[in-house]
């Protein structure tokens, strides 16, 4: 079924009885050509592009719970292409271009809103770094504008410009960045994949891999054994657990990141603001709630909930940037589990086990990568070669020395 305004009018006249389910609920078959583990944004996007762009057939997505119930449903919905390094920026620019055409491609309203992202600077050194980053973005086909203090004031007059410790000196504006309705991304990809014959199998937990002489034969699941020619693992947050079943140790630690939503307010933050003097970023959802977040808690965790010291730290940062935040009540906070990698950058690569492929290590930036990660992972699964924009995301890069460390923190995952 194709969604359109005409269809909506028709349905409104017959009491919306004709919509039907958006995807099937099939039982698993005995074997598939491609099995994707993880029915989140990345897994569903992988299945969608594999079926649509690479003519893959006999594809299944296995999901332990329900689709879109993991990090794609728990993030702060920001999309952007404002990276510095060559290994990263072409990939994220590719992703942003896919976002820009996503709704037309999927025939699904994902509420892609390019409302602009502003990274604030508070010192001369930060302005130099912002100028350099902006130039790197421009060189890779993205867009960037360096704003002075008055330029920032015109956009966001309510910020704390004269903070004695961290006065706002300007900012780097990325106009094509923005926000997306995150659940709709998972649902849109699921519907698109299902229409192209992909079996989306929910409540199906992978419990083991069947590997013989270095070659993957299939996966053991809570709903029986499923044979597979190629298996792609895309299970952000649980990467360590799943790959351990294949006997692999990863350059990844799992950490918890918290996010927050305030009560609904009238529109007052038109774009996305990030603080340069502390880890804090904020946008306003279309429902009116202020959506914000900050640092990870900083210790290994699979608990999907954080602790109060980080809540205090995030809210303090927010208050020092937007004093008006103190008048709003916090409605909800929650935690999600991040694959924190050793250099802060992800992996889309084959493994030493033939037929087993891995997509993970996205730290807390996986959402914006969803379309390109899906596309590039599908490319790798189909052709066996990395996509042009994802060729730096290798699992062996710590051995070869080709690390992609945007922050220059070294192998200390809780600092990325």
């Amino acid at each position: 079924m194709r969604y359109s305004a005409l269809r909506l009018i028709k349905e409104s006249l017959i009491g919306h009885k004709g919509w039907g389910a958006q995807w099937r609920d099939p039982d698993p078959k005995d074997a598939y050509d491609y099995v994707i583990i993880g029915g989140g944004g990345h897994g569903l996007a992988t299945a969608y592009y594999l079926a649509k762009e690479f003519q893959g057939a006999r594809i299944a997505v296995l999901e332990k719970g329900w689709i879109g119930g993991g990090n794609v449903g728990r993030n702060t919905t920001i999309i952007r292409s404002n990276y510095l390094l060559d290994g990263n920026e072409p990939f994220y620019e590719f992703s942003l271009k896919l976002w820009e055409n996503l709704e037309q491609d999927l025939n699904y309203n994902a509420m892609v809103s390019q409302r602009g992202i502003l990274n604030l600077v508070h010192s001369d050194a930060q302005r130099d770094a912002a100028r350099r980053r902006g130039n790197a973005m421009l060189l890779n086909g993205s867009d960037a504008m360096l704003l002075d203090k008055e330029g920032v004031r015109r956009l966001y007059p309510f910020l704390n410009f004269d903070n004695a410790r961290f006065p706002i000196k300007g900012g780097l504006l990325h106009p094509r960045g923005g926000t997306v309705r995150h659940d709709a991304v998972a649902w849109g990809y699921a519907r698109g994949a299902d229409q192209r014959g992909v079996d989306i199998i929910q409540n199906c937990e992978v419990t083991g891999f069947k590997i013989k002489e270095g070659r993957l034969l299939g996966v053991e699941t809570s709903r029986g054994y499923i044979g597979a020619k190629k298996v792609g693992v895309s299970v952000a947050g649980s990467s360590g657990r799943v790959m351990a079943m294949a006997g692999m140790r990863l350059p990844i630690e799992s950490h918890v990141l918290q996010a927050f939503v305030s009560e609904g307010l009238k529109p007052f933050i038109p774009g996305v603001i990030t603080y340069g003097a502390g880890h804090f970023y904020c946008s306003q959802s279309d429902k009116g709630g202020l959506v914000f977040g900050g640092d990870i808690d900083g210790y290994n965790s699979y608990a999907q909930r954080g602790n109060l010291p980080v809540v205090e730290d995030v809210v303090e940062s927010g208050m020092s940037l937007i004093p008006g935040l103190g008048r709003a009540r916090l409605l909800r906070s929650w935690g999600g589990i991040m694959d924190m990698s050793m250099d802060g950058s992800p992996f889309i690569d084959k493994t030493l086990i033939e037929g087993l492929y891995f997509n993970g290590g996205w730290c807390y930036g996986g959402f914006k990568a969803t379309p390109a990660a899906g596309f590039c992972f599908a490319h790798l699964l189909k052709t066996g070669r990395p996509h042009e924009t994802a060729k730096a995301y290798r699992l062996d890069r710590f051995m070869t020395g080709h690390i992609i460390d945007e922050k220059g923190q070294g192998a200390q995952p809780n600092l990325h």
Binding site: S238, G240, R241, A244, R249, L250, P251, I252, E253, S254, G298, Y299, N300, S301, Y302, A303, N307, P309, M342, F398, M399, A411, Q412, P413, N414
Partner: protein, 98 residues
């Protein structure tokens, strides 16, 4: 989280900074034949378990001791706290008597 310091008693986790897996105590021998692979694995690869995890915490805002904390990563419950130097010494003694 409250970390029950072996010398100072229960202290708020905010006083500590976190390094990571307690396996970081066991540096590979730098003159061994496969030191390159050893240091790669030591520095970059992690077991990353869901469940009990032995990890290094530094009492930065306190007595500046290193602790080995055993904590459940699925519940954040701390079940055991040791001084890292005791753990390292015990390991060295065990190796010497082998």
């Amino acid at each position: 989280m409250i970390i029950n310091h072996p010398l100072l008693g229960p202290r708020d986790a905010q006083e500590f900074t976190y390094l990571g897996d307690a396996g970081l105590i066991n540096r590979p021998y730098w003159l061994s034949d496969n030191a390159m692979r050893g240091f790669h694995d030591y520095l970059h690869l992690r077991d990353n378990p869901a469940g009990l995890h032995r990890e290094l915490w530094f009492h930065e805002q306190g007595d500046r001791s290193w602790l080995v904390v055993t904590r459940d990563t699925t519940t954040h419950e701390i079940t055991k706290v040791e001084l890292a130097r005791d753990v390292a010494r015990a390991k060295r003694t065990a190796e010497a008597t082998q």
